[in-house]
Amino acid sequence: MKKIEAIIRPHKLDEVREALQEAGFRGLTVTEVKGFGRQGGHSEIYRGSEYTINFLPKVKIELVCPNPSLDKAVDIILKHAKTGEVGDGKIFISAVEEVIRVRTEETGEDAV
């Protein structure tokens, strides 16, 4: 099993979620995050003070899937999160040792 962590633009979240759901992925976790990458920040002005906002708001989605579904999930995220501008985000993929469903105590791919 693999875990996909994708940092994407907040306004792309619904499009990505919809496409993943249509393709049969049955759950994901979303976190509002802040960070910086090549996009850099922007400036905000409050009365006399100008601040550079280095950390921009993004959304992180986390999704665990069986190995054979990985490419499909990544393709969907790439297709639907992309605008082509700097700041589209990143995808991290890592191996997952075990998954346990709390209610039934099922383990492994059955629990995904």
Binding site: E44, I45, Y46, R47, G48, Y51, I53
Partner: protein, 498 residues
């Protein structure tokens, strides 16, 4: 006269027909009783007494005691109760939210606690000695007397030295709301870095050394700077609703206190952003609404002067709220919500001393300068001088209050407010009526502003160093970094996701 008033009032809870009968009895009884001492007032005299109510004039014209004397007039009294509530609303929660939204989230409750604490503390001081020291007779030009300690003798009958038709106890509570918001304004300059105990101690001393004397000097019947009502005023200045007493005093004290206190840890290096601009806007709207009680209520009657103040307050606030963000747009590229909100407050501050003395065109002019001058102060002055006035109390209230004192001298007109003319015996006697016509009023306004500035700065230096020596002004560095909410109040403004 007293027993008639008592009979009239205790009749109120009974059913209508019964109370009417009782009233009839009590009035005839007292008329008969009076008859045996003096002659009963004629119908004409009694009508004149009622006309005095409509004109907000002396309730005992010609010195005759009338059935209508010594009683609050329902309309005027009703407006003053409403106004008192509106001015409280400016502090709780208006100013609390305005300031609370501007600080970082870890300090939001500390600002609310400061506003709440000041409301309670100042109320106790006002009840015990404050009202007496400001408005009791028997004092001198700088401070009032001791006759109203613990609000003794302050009841529902009007004190005609101040308001012909308003209950003195309502007048006292109305004035108390001003005494509450003034020190609460200072909180903006020292936000996020002053120990709570030091805030309360500072405010207590500040009320005695700055607010009580200043309010008496400007509004007390025998006050040093009460040009309108004191025939012997040394400074013939005018201040309708508190430009000097409230805004200049708090603004200049705020500047001095924030300089003595020092900057917030990380100031200039870390971003210190408003944590909730929505609260700022909500608070601003409440301040604007409440300000009608502050300004139009300062007529101490629901009369034509109050109506004028209501209108000029609206115009100045609206114009400044528009001019400030437009100036921002022109020089910085974007009109910000904080710019709109700052413009509202700044317009209200500058019109405060002027609202009962200027006409609509004067108010629009005041709105324009109120949108530009404090804007420049917080944009340029603050960064040039490098002080950490966290929420711009000095830039808005200090600069705006001083500006207001001066423009009031330029724009005040006896045709708007006849109290500035020879029709007002005090203004005629002390020369204000002449100054209002020949332009000499500006000089008197500058004197009043100078005296206010001097008193505020000197007393604040004294109190701040004394409090620092006694209990210290700042919390520990770790408290300040953690946030005052948890460190000083043991709670958080926003506690997680559930």
């Amino acid at each position: 006269m007293n027993h008639r008033r008592t009979a009239h009032r205790t009749a109120a809870p009974y059913r209508r027909y019964f109370s009417l009968a009782l009233l009839f009895l009590s009035v005839t009884h007292s008329l008969l009783a009076q008859d045996s001492l003096t002659t009963a007032p004629s119908l004409e005299q009694r009508v004149a007494g009622l006309e005095a109510y409509l004109n907000n004039a002396n309730p005992s014209p010609g010195g005759h005691a009338l059935p209508s004397s010594g009683i609050a007039g329902p309309g005027h009294n009703g407006w003053m109760m409403t106004s008192a509530a509106l001015v409280l609303f400016m502090t709780l929660p208006g100013l609390a939210l305005f300031y609370g939204g501007l600080v970082r989230r870890k300090n939001v409750l500390s600002v609310l606690a400061q506003c709440l604490g000041i409301a309670g503390l100042v109320t106790i001081l006002w009840w015990a000695v404050g009202y007496s020291l400001v408005f009791s007779d028997g004092g001198n030009a700088v401070l009032g007397g001791w006759n109203h300690l613990f609000l003794s003798g302050v009841g529902p009958a009007p004190d005609t030295s101040y308001a012909y038709w308003v209950s003195e106890n309502i007048f006292a509570i109305y004035q108390m709301m001003f005494a509450i918001i003034t020190p609460a304004l200072i909180v903006g300059a020292i936000a996020e870095r002053m120990k709570y105990s030091a805030v309360l101690l500072f405010v207590t001393a500040w009320m005695f050394l700055v607010y009580f004397p200043l309010a008496h000097m400007v509004w007390g019947a025998n006050g040093l700077m009460n040009g309108v009502w004191n025939a012997d005023a040394a400074v013939r200045s005018i201040d309708f609703a508190g430009g000097t007493v409230v805004h200049m005093s708090s603004g200049w004290s705020a500047l001095v206190l924030c300089l003595i206190l020092g900057k917030r840890i990380g100031f200039g290096r870390e971003p210190m952003l408003p944590h909730n601009m929505v609260l700022v806007m909500v608070g601003t709207g409440m301040l604007w609404v409440g300000w009608y009680g502050f300004n139009a209520g300062s007529a101490l009657a629901a009369d034509g002067i109050a109506a004028n103040a209501f209108v000029t307050t609206t115009l100045a606030a609206a114009v400044a709220s528009f001019v400030w963000p437009m100036a921002e747009w022109a020089v910085r590229g974007k009109p910000s919500v904080l710019g709109f909100c700052s413009g509202v407050v700044s317009g209200l501050v500058v019109i405060t001393p002027a609202c009962g003395f200027v006409d609509v065109n004067g108010a629009v002019g005041i709105g324009v300068v109120a949108g530009l001058v404090p804007f420049l102060a917080v944009w340029k002055l603050k960064s040039w001088l490098g002080y950490d006035d966290a929420l711009d109390t000095f830039g808005v209230h200090g600069v705006g209050g001083t500006l207001g004192a001066i423009v009031t001298g330029l724009a005040a007109s006896p045709s708007v407010n006849p109290n500035l003319s020879a029709a007002n015996a005090a203004a005629q006697a002390n020369g204000l009526a002449g100054l209002a016509l020949n332009g000499g009023l500006v000089l008197e306004q500058l004197k009043a502003a100078g005296l206010t500035l001097l008193l505020s700065v000197a007393a604040t230096v004294l109190i701040a160093y004394a409090v620092r020596a006694f209990i210290g002004l700042r919390p520990s560095a770790s408290s300040e970094l953690t946030g005052l909410d948890i460190a000083e109040h043991g709670e958080e403004g926003y506690t997680g996701a559930h």
